[in-house]
């Protein structure tokens, strides 16, 4: 849920990259981290397994700078994609303001894409929301694969709600920034229409007993709290199969207009139209730098395989070996304990820097 803080002149929004396992969610974030100037982004934090599979979430803050005098920040998250991390995904989805659904274009992943989309709908439903309540963009990643499905077929099979879509080859960066830019525009427009205009007015009179004399604060529709459901045990994921290498076989068509996205969604989202094009003095920012060197990593957790020094990750080994039979409830507790421990460990290492 967007936080508006006029005291600090700040807006904070939460964006989640969703999708099936190994579709490229983490790769998207890594690319954004690599290509964004250092002063516009924070560290990329990953709570992942030794097999480099996201265990809880990846996180990276992004600072868009001042928009109309208000500092606008995005918090980018990814979720673990494997089926057995359903309950974890729900935790990460809490308070989401916009979603990038990263689909794997491979024909062999079609059913996983569809299942993940259904999973997203279900998680939102359990939170009292629907897919039309918030901005969602579909990214068809891995367009360079030899068995990549046609866009038309993917649209028909996966994008059943006809969300705006982009094509991408995340490891090369193609489509990554256009996707994020388009979603950011939709989220900001949604924020603007749901209450920023009214809340930028002088603060209403303190006494709620005199509403006629107070300017409306423009509070948005309340979002019901998430309701919980039992979930399967968290189990270890097998090592990922090697991906085909080589240059992309095509140039993805991901052009986005400066202020009016070119995808022109076929449906009218409830959260409002895209921003209109208005010429104005741009907020001065440095041009995006080329491949950005990441800061050296902290010491890895005990018993964890070391990552390259240029990355900063938390790896948790030995997790996910939960006993699937009999361990439903206690397996979940074990898994949640591991997530809490991983998050706590990384938080404590942050303090030591």
């Amino acid at each position: 849920m967007v936080q508006i803080n006029f005291a600090h002149k700040e807006i904070q929004c939460k964006i989640v990259y969703y999708g099936p396992g190994m579709s490229g969610k983490t790769t998207n974030l890594e690319l954004v981290h690599e290509k964004t100037p250092g002063e516009a982004r924070g560290e990329l934090t990953s709570i992942a397994t030794t097999g480099e599979r996201t265990l809880y979430f990846d996180y990276m803050p992004l600072d868009l700078g001042a928009i109309a005098g208000i500092r606008t920040k995005f918090q980018l998250y990814t979720v673990p994609g494997q089926i057995y991390y359903k309950s974890t995904r729900r935790l990460v989805l809490q308070g989401v303001d916009g979603i990038v659904f990263v689909a794997d274009s491979s024909a062999s992943k079609l059913e996983e894409n569809r299942e993940s989309m259904r999973d997203l709908e279900e998680n939102l439903r359990e939170m009292g929301r629907t897919v039309t309540d918030l901005p969602i963009i579909v990214q068809y990643n891995k367009r360079d694969l030899p068995d990549a499905m046609s866009l038309d077929e993917l649209q028909k099979q996966v994008n059943v709600h006809n969300f705006p879509h982009f094509e991408a080859v995340a490891p090369t960066g193609q489509g990554v920034f256009p996707t994020l830019r388009a979603l950011a525009a939709l989220v900001l427009e949604s924020v603007n229409r749901s209450g920023l205009g009214a809340t930028r007015a002088p603060r209403p009179a303190a006494a709620p007993a005199a509403p006629a004399s107070a300017a409306p604060a423009g509070a948005p529709t309340a979002t019901p709290a998430p309701s919980a459901r039992p979930a399967p045990s968290i189990a270890a994921s097998p090592p990922p199969p090697p991906r085909p290498s080589g240059p992309p076989a095509y140039a993805p068509r991901t052009a986005v207009a400066a202020s009016a996205p070119a995808y022109a969604p076929a449906y009218a989202p409830a959260y409002g139209p895209a921003a209109t094009a208005v010429a104005d003095a741009p907020v001065p920012r440095p041009a995006p730098a080329p491949a950005h060197a990441l800061a050296p990593s902290a010491s890895p957790a005990p018993g964890v395989a070391p990552r390259p020094a240029s990355d900063r990750y938390v790896k948790v080994s030995g997790l996910g070996n939960g006993n699937g039979s009999g361990g439903g409830k206690f397996g979940m507790i074990a898994g949640l304990t591991a997530l809490i421990a991983a998050a706590a460990w990384f938080a404590l290492t942050q303090l030591g820097r």
């Binding site: 948005p220 400066a258 030591g352």
Partner: protein, 171 residues
């Protein structure tokens, strides 16, 4: 009459005097508990405000990790049949973190070292959390009373969005 649920889920907007009131409570907490710093983080991982020695801390990342940690804890409490765990404590080698829930909306995060004890921090955090919860509840009631109004939005903000996005993400 606003229900607890609607109060819990209404988006809060913080103005200068709200933050000043919150900061006063956090300053008093730091003075009493001798903690190094105090962060107020909403349950979605957004930092509301922070006081004390925070210069060396990546506040954005800490906020996300704290919220994530507490979300997992809440799920664990539900599995065990508890409504919630109202406090969480992480012990490090030199620094420690004490989390206290604030009215189901936010988390009071205290970072402290050997200069104080977890008991002291927990005692004063509990008191501070109650006072903070009163502020949050009042703000939520104001927001609910004002009602939800979707409008045309702020034209200046809209006009500036495109260039800002172009600057960072490219056209």
């Amino acid at each position: 009459m606003a229900t607890d649920k609607s109060l819990r889920d209404t988006r809060l907007v913080f103005y200068k005097d709200d933050i000043e009131s919150i900061n006063a409570i956090l300053d008093a907490f730091l003075k009493q508990s001798a903690a190094k710093c105090a962060l107020l983080i909403d349950k979605d991982g957004h930092m509301v405000t922070s006081r004390g020695a925070t210069k060396r801390i990546d506040l954005d990342t800490i906020s996300a990790l704290v919220a994530g940690s507490f979300a997992a804890t809440r799920e664990m409490a539900r599995i065990l049949g508890e409504e919630e765990f109202s406090a969480l404590y992480h012990q490090g080698k030199s620094d420690n973190i004490q989390l206290s829930i604030v009215g189901d909306r936010a988390l009071l995060t205290a970072i402290f070292d050997e200069c104080t004890t977890v008991g002291m921090v927990r005692l004063y955090a509990s008191e501070a959390a109650k006072r903070l919860a009163a502020i949050f509840r009042k703000k939520a009631q104001e927001a609910v009373a004002a009602g939800s109004t979707a409008g045309d939005g702020d034209a200046t903000f809209r006009a500036s969005t495109g260039p800002a996005l172009d600057s960072l993400f490219g056209k």
